[in-house]
């Protein structure tokens, strides 16, 4: 069985044509979320244009609540954090956040005013507290690029208090572990770049993988029934922890596909049940995380297409593009070796040479970076950002983590004119006091980042095998500095640059 995309697209489109049924009107309180779930599923199927963007924007703006400053779920309904996040996600995905430029101050005020002294967030002014609302607030602020340590650090402290005896997280401190709450907590920590604060990681990983039942489906708590939506809550959590392979992906895939309605389209919670857009989206998102059914890869933290957030597709370590791309990165920050392994660099289209296996460890030696060879394979999911993280680590090894002097980078051995902005950028990057943490680059007052435009907005953090986290990004930013770099060769051509560890 495979995913019947045509049917699912038709199903999602049909949802707004149900106005002759009472159920349509009884679900107004969920409409904004519903539209987001539908849009997200369409994006995964590369069918986002099936929604009329102008209508969508109109609907979202109609849901803006002037009194409270956030978005409600339906026109004239009150603002709530849940619907506000969905609205922002929709605008982000359809690349039209600018339509709310005039409302930004009010939206920010709405969200930040809901934070309580203990770092948690209430969903609206009536006091309901839940880790879901911490996540929705933090992601909303991240989308708006307005996170600050003053907001994030207390929120992280609150999240940490919600961890339980079994390693999982609940709704508030003391409440039982639940897969969906675990997702909201881990994703918050991931946005904050503080996944290293998790205790008992092994316990948590085992608890999550024990959610898979013999029929392939996942449940949300021990001794409960399976449900398609946990394909997202559990799998995104495992993905954030870099443990997607702790369950049987093929069996889960088969279970999700069994839940399709092959006549009307859509996916249900369990085989044979009534479909809905919530399960359609989260079933599909689970398949996307696992790399099945040729779906657009989804980001496990933001639940939006990865490429929209990071400007790049994620690369699995087993993909050939991994090894192909590495020397190019090293080409930019080359540790004293300008010659790269010709086997790799020349092989732009064909398969890899025999023996050129896929571990990052080997890839390191391919890159001819003697210093790098010492590191072990730490990344299952490889992105170029990982390499930059590695470079940062080496720098810390040499200088100590509290060193204040930035790395001295010199451009030598290249005929290419030296871009001072790149030098500054890299210098700033290697200064540990300018580590990215909060969904944007936080620069202490003493540091000047010449490229201080919005090119720092596409960021991600990175969890290593040993559980520690290295926050960061960079490849996309480098690309933005070299204007011609849609052509990767020009990035590569900067390969004569040498970083001297002084």
């Amino acid at each position: 069985m495979s995913l019947d995309k045509a049917k699912h697209i038709a199903y999602i489109k049909s949802l707004d044509e149900q106005k002759q049924f009472i159920e349509y009107w009884l679900s107004e309180h969920l409409r904004m979320n519903g539209v987001y779930w539908g849009a997200c599923a369409l994006f995964m199927m590369k069918a986002e244009d099936e929604f009329n963007k102008a209508d969508l924007v109109k609907f979202i703006l109609n849901c803006y609540d002037e009194t409270n400053g956030g978005f409600g779920s339906y026109p004239r309904h009150d603002a709530h954090l849940l619907s506000t996040l969905s609205a922002l996600q929709l605008l982000k995905m359809y690349d039209c956040l600018d339509v709310i430029d005039d409302k930004r101050p009010q939206i920010l005020k709405f969200i930040t005013n809901l934070q309580l002294p203990d770092g948690s967030f209430q969903g609206d002014r009536f006091g309901e507290v839940d880790t879901r609302f911490v996540y929705t607030a933090i992601q909303s602020l991240s989308i708006l690029e307005s996170l600050t340590p003053e907001i994030v650090d207390p929120a992280v402290d609150f999240i940490i208090q919600c961890q339980n005896f079994d390693g999982g997280f609940g709704l508030v401190p003391g409440s039982e572990s639940h897969s969906a709450q675990i997702f909201t907590c881990l994703a918050t920590l991931a946005i904050a770049g503080q996944l290293d604060k998790i205790k008992d990681r092994d316990l948590l990983e085992w608890w999550l993988s024990d959610r898979q039942l013999e029929n392939g489906g996942l449940n949300g708590r021990p001794e409960k029934l399976e449900d398609v939506c946990y394909s997202w809550w559990v799998m995104s959590s495992l993905s954030i922890l870099d443990r997607l392979d702790y369950i049987d992906g093929e069996k889960l895939r088969a279970f999700i596909l069994e839940c399709q309605d092959l006549e009307q389209g859509g996916i249900s919670d369990r085989p044979g049940n009534q479909v809905d857009v919530y399960h359609t989206n989260f079933g599909m998102a689970g398949l996307s995380l696992l790399g099945y059914e040729d779906l657009v890869p989804i980001d496990p933290v933001y639940c939006m297409p990865y490429v929209i957030l990071h400007g790049l597709e994620p690369h699995s370590i087993s993909s050939t593009s991994l090894v192909k791309r590495l020397p190019k990165i090293f080409g930019i920050l080359n540790f004293g070796h300008s010659e790269l392994d010709p086997l790799v660099t020349t092989d732009d289209h064909g398969s890899l040479s025999p023996g050129m296996n896929t571990s990052l460890h080997e890839a390191h030696s391919v890159g001819n970076c003697s210093k790098m060879e010492a590191s072990e394979s730490k990344y299952d999911l490889y992105t170029p950002e990982a390499v930059v993280c590695e470079l940062y680590e080496i720098w810390v090894d040499v200088n100590g983590s509290d060193a204040n002097e930035p790395l001295n980078i010199k451009a030598t051995g290249s005929d290419a004119p030296v871009s001072s902005s790149l030098l500054n950028l890299v210098n700033s990057f290697f200064n540990p006091s300018t580590i990215f943490r909060f969904g944007r680059w936080i620069s202490p007052p003493s540091t000047t980042i010449l490229c201080s435009d919005n090119s720092f907005s596409n960021c991600s953090s990175f969890v290593r095998r040993d559980g520690s986290i290295l926050p960061l990004l960079l490849y996309t930013e480098l690309k933005s500095i070299f204007p011609s770099t849609s052509n990767e060769a020009s990035l590569f051509s900067a390969g004569g640059w040498i970083i001297e560890l002084t």
Partner: protein
Amino acid sequence: MKIHKDAPKITRYRAFVDKVLRHKQAQLYTESAFAETAKLLDVNPELYTIWNYRRDILLDWFKPDTPEATHELIKQELVFTVGHLKRFPKCYWIWNHRKWCLEYDSLTNWDNEMVLIDKFLEADSRNYHVWQYRRYVIDRMKLAQSPKQQAQTDLQEFEYTTKQISKDISNYSALHNRSRLIKLLFERSPECATLFYTKNKHGFLVEEWKLAQNAFYTDPDDSSVWIYIKWLLGDYFLNDLTKDQAREVVENAIQDISKLNALEAEESSHDNQWCLKTLVFLEQQLSRVTGVRSEKKNQLLEKLVQQDTIRAKRYQDAKD
């Protein structure tokens, strides 16, 4: 046909929603407006905006009143929510509304709340919202208590989990709550609970092991107790035991679980995976206590790789 049947319903419903929202917009805080919110929430309890409106009306009515008058209003409101909760016991907004009410009441009869909770847990002993509400109510009650009384309340709650578990050993929600109550009681306990009071973790562990044993003998395939055992023989307890005590406790557990697994294997001709998984953990703990590398751990993991294939990768990763 559904479309024909729905058409008049839709017209009526939309007109009604529109009317209530217009009243809300106009900040109309009258008895009749309040009654209309009730009518609308009867039809659709998920309309959070209407719950909000209801709260705004109540806030307006609370203003000049005495605690007694507010209490009367809230009492009625609590009755209103009970009706809804019976129909929709998993609706976030209703539980939230009930809590909101209690925040404004200084004369709440908490015993009534506990009676209500017990009834809901009888109907569904795993209802996430009800357990959550129970903890909330207990915390609120404790606010008015002396430290001694608070410890007594925790002990009662601990005993409640014992009751729930003995009724149904697969009640993971009860085991969860038990774990946090145990921690609270080791921090502060009434004198009558000697093991807690004297911070005798070893003594407690020996007692608690009987409960665990009873549970895993009753249903060896139920995951709840196995997860609980991982905590029971985890660092929280072992760190406070002497080396000999810790070693003895873990070795005994290994022996008991191995025995159970042998019985299971005899009956069904294959290992019990929860036994194996727990034994892996215990071997790990044992080598942590003794400093000697476990020879059995990798064998157990290899068995699990073969038998619990859907999680093979995690067993591979756990090998020494």
